[in-house]
Symmetry: C2
Subunit: 153 residues, 2 copies
């Protein structure tokens, strides 16, 4: 994923097809707008802001308004196709949309690439920490900043 040399169009295609399939299963509506916004979020492996999506979405056509983008993003986040990165006010495509989950991320401070960690063990540790502090667990965000392997090489 962090390898710059991969054929990224494959990532995008896979994400779109998965989303399509999951929406059919869940009987939710994968409209052209939502599809297009998901495609734009996946246009890179870096987080993208709502307003960047808005600009890209507006290219050529009449400029769309913020609610159009935010509503589509809300849907995609709700369905688990996209995660929001709180520390960056940004969004990134989920690497495992088939299983709804909380996103736990590594963020490279040099190249801005993001790696999603889908480790159950990490999730367990977090959920236990909640219980040990007397809280019921609802959800969590974990965003780790560091420098990725590529950038240190």
């Amino acid at each position: 994923m962090l390898n710059n040399k991969h054929d990224h169009s494959v990532c995008v295609e896979t994400a779109l097809e998965s989303a399509q399939k999951i929406c059919e299963e869940r009987e939710t509506r994968f409209t052209p707008l939502r599809r297009r916004v998901l495609e734009l979020v996946w246009s890179k492996h870096e987080p993208i802001t709502a307003y960047e999506v808005l600009d890209m979405l507006s290219e050529g056509k009449k400029r769309v308004a913020p609610p159009t983008v935010y509503r589509a993003l809300d849907f995609l986040v709700e369905e688990g196709f996209v995660h929001r990165i709180e520390s960056l006010n940004s969004f990134v495509g989920c690497s495992d949309p088939a299983h709804k989950h909380q996103g736990h991320f590594m963020i490279c401070t040099k190249c801005s690439n993001v790696t999603e960690m889908n480790e159950q063990s990490l999730h367990n540790v977090i959920e236990n920490a909640a219980k040990e502090n007397g809280y019921s667990y609802e959800n969590s965000i974990l965003e780790i900043a560091g420098v990725c392997e590529n950038c240190r090489a």
Copy 2:
């Protein structure tokens, strides 16, 4: 800390005195404004927004401008007296300002109380996760949403 019955003025006093002492050690300037903003952040155990601080700071006197508050908050966060809660765009007093660290939090979705977790083990797990994913570790945010003991009782 989550116990509503504690004498909160003690929390505030302790926080202000600690900050004063630490600033003397570090030879940084704990100005009246910074002191006042820290006091306001500590006015409750819930996260507080910059604009709430701004409103409280402005009571009576001429209204202060946003940069005044943000600069004071930047200083307090920098010194480790206050943590920023990314998922709420808010700030909360640090429970252990003597040792600079990353804030890891539990946030009650019912009463908005926040509990800071100062567990080294949790920190170690997170730092290891970074290394296992090929990242160097710089810092991290962990914000867990759930319902606190009080609110479930």
